[in-house]
Amino acid sequence: MAKIIIFNIIRFILLVILQVALLKNVSYYNIATPFPYILCILLLPLGISNLTLFTLAFLTGITIDAFYDSVGVHTAACVALAYFRIFFLNITLEVDQRDSFQTPSWGNMKFKWYSTYILLATLVQHIVLFTIEIFSFENILQTLIRALLSTIFTIAIIFVISLLTYSGKNKIPNN
C-alpha cells in the first residue's frame, strides 16, 4: 500500500518533469503536441475513491497549467479524463477487481484492455483540452484534427513509456 503510494508520487514527479522540461518544446508545428503526463492519472490504483481521483486529477491539471500559463485548461481536461476513467472501469471490470488496489498497467491487465483504455482516455482528454483551449466551436474540424493527431503522438509516447517500464508480475485475471 505505502509502496504503491510512493510509486505514484514518483511517477507523477517524473511525468511532470518530462512534460514541462522536454515535451513542452516538442511539437509538429502547432498541430500535434504530446501530453503523456495523463499517464499518472490513468495509472492510479483501481480501488481509490471517486473524490480522491477527482482531487488528484485536479491537482495534476493545475500543476501542468502553472507551467503552461493556461489556467484551467488542463485542469478541466484532467477532470473530464477522471470521469471517463470511472465510467470505463465501471463497464469493463468486475466488482472485486475494481475494489482491489492494483495498478491498471500493461503488466497487470490484458494488452487488449490496456490499449483500448489508453486510446479512448487519451482521445477524450485531448478533445476536451483543445476545445477548451480554443474556447469556441468555430473551426471545430481543425480543432478535432489537432486533437486526433496529438492523440496519436501522445499514445505513441505512452506506449514507449509502458514498454520501458513493463513488468509481467502480479497478473490479475481479467474478463
Partner: protein, 279 residues
C-alpha cells in the same frame, strides 16, 4: 429523503465531475477575461525556480549561437559608436540636450522559459519587481521585438509573446514613413511569420520592405526593426489590407532579451488620460 441520499451516492462520480469541471471552467473564463495576477502562473516562485534550473542546462546547447549573436550586436554597436568618437573632440557641442538622460532604459534579462508551439505563447524572464520591472513594459531582443510584460513577481516576470493572440504592436512601414498598422500573429502556426493589419489600401508596399515599431505606445521606442514584408496586398475585404511579415526575431532560439523601461511613460499616460476625462 433517504432515496435522495441514495441517488447522490449512486451517481456521486457525476456530481463530483460537475463540481470540479465547473470550477476549472470558471478558472479558464476568469483568466481569459481579466488577466489579473493569479498565483498559478509561471512567475510564481516555485515554477520560476524550476524553470531557471531547466534553463541552466538548456543554455549550454545554445551557447555558441548566442555568443555569435551577441558578438554581431557588439560589432554593430561599435560601428555606431565610431560615428560619435570620430567627430572632432575639440569642438564643443553647440546644442544642449533638454533631457538629462535618455528616455529609454534597457534592462537585460535571460529567458528561462519559452514556448512557440502553443495557441497562446508566453515567455518567462529572470527579472522582477526587484529590478524595477512593471506590467506593460516592452521586451525586445537584439534583432527585433519580443512581446509585452504581463505579470511580475518578486524575481520573475511573464511576457506575452508576439506569438499570442492578445498581442498587438503598432508598426510603421519605414522608419520615416507615415503609414501605420498593427502587427499581430494572426492565425499562424509558424513562429517565423506574422501579419500586419489595417494598412490603408492606397499604400504601395514592396516585398522585402522593412518594418519598424512606430513609437506611438510607451512600450517600444521608435524604429526598432520588426521584420520584412513577405507578401503584400492580402485583402481583408474593407478599405484596409493585410500583409504577411517575416519576423527578424528568432523565437525558437531566444535566450537574451532587453526589457524596455520608458521613464516618461507615466507622464505620457497621465496626460493622455486627462484628455479623455475632459472630452
Amino acid at each position: 429523503m433517504k432515496n435522495l441520499w441514495l441517488f447522490f451516492v449512486r451517481f456521486n462520480a457525476f456530481f463530483w465531475f460537475l463540481l470540479f469541471f465547473t470550477f476549472s471552467i470558471v478558472l479558464v473564463i476568469r483568466n481569459n477575461n481579466y488577466q489579473q495576477s493569479a498565483f498559478i502562473n509561471s512567475s510564481n516562485i516555485f515554477v520560476g525556480t524550476l524553470y531557471t534550473k531547466f534553463n541552466s542546462w538548456q543554455e549550454y546547447i545554445n551557447l555558441s549561437k548566442d555568443n555569435e549573436l551577441l558578438t554581431a550586436e557588439n560589432a554593430a554597436l561599435r560601428q555606431r559608436l565610431q560615428f560619435f568618437e570620430d567627430s572632432d573632440s575639440t569642438v564643443m557641442p553647440a546644442i544642449k540636450l533638454t533631457m538629462d538622460e535618455a528616455q529609454y532604459e534597457f534592462i537585460p534579462a535571460n529567458v528561462i522559459n519559452n514556448s512557440i508551439s502553443q495557441k497562446n505563447n508566453f515567455i518567462t524572464l529572470n527579472k522582477g519587481i526587484k529590478d524595477g520591472i512593471e506590467p506593460n513594459m516592452g521586451v525586445i531582443s537584439s534583432n527585433g521585438v519580443v512581446g509585452t510584460v504581463l505579470k511580475v513577481s518578486e524575481n520573475f516576470c511573464t511576457v506575452t509573446s508576439l506569438l499570442n493572440s492578445a498581442t498587438k504592436i503598432s508598426v510603421s512601414l519605414d522608419s520615416t514613413s507615415e503609414t501605420f498598422g498593427s502587427l499581430v500573429w494572426g492565425n499562424n502556426i509558424d513562429s517565423r511569420y506574422a501579419m500586419v493589419k489595417d494598412i490603408p489600401n492606397h499604400i504601395k508596399a514592396y516585398v522585402g520592405q522593412p518594418l519598424f515599431t512606430s513609437g506611438y505606445s510607451t512600450k517600444f521606442p521608435k524604429g526598432i526593426k520588426v521584420g520584412h514584408i513577405l507578401e503584400t496586398d492580402l485583402t481583408s475585404g474593407g478599405s484596409f489590407k493585410d500583409m504577411r511579415v517575416l519576423l527578424t526575431t528568432n523565437f525558437s532560439n531566444l535566450t537574451h532579451v532587453y526589457i524596455v523601461k520608458d521613464k516618461l511613460a507615466k507622464e505620457k499616460i497621465e496626460l493622455e488620460s486627462s484628455n479623455n476625462n475632459n472630452g
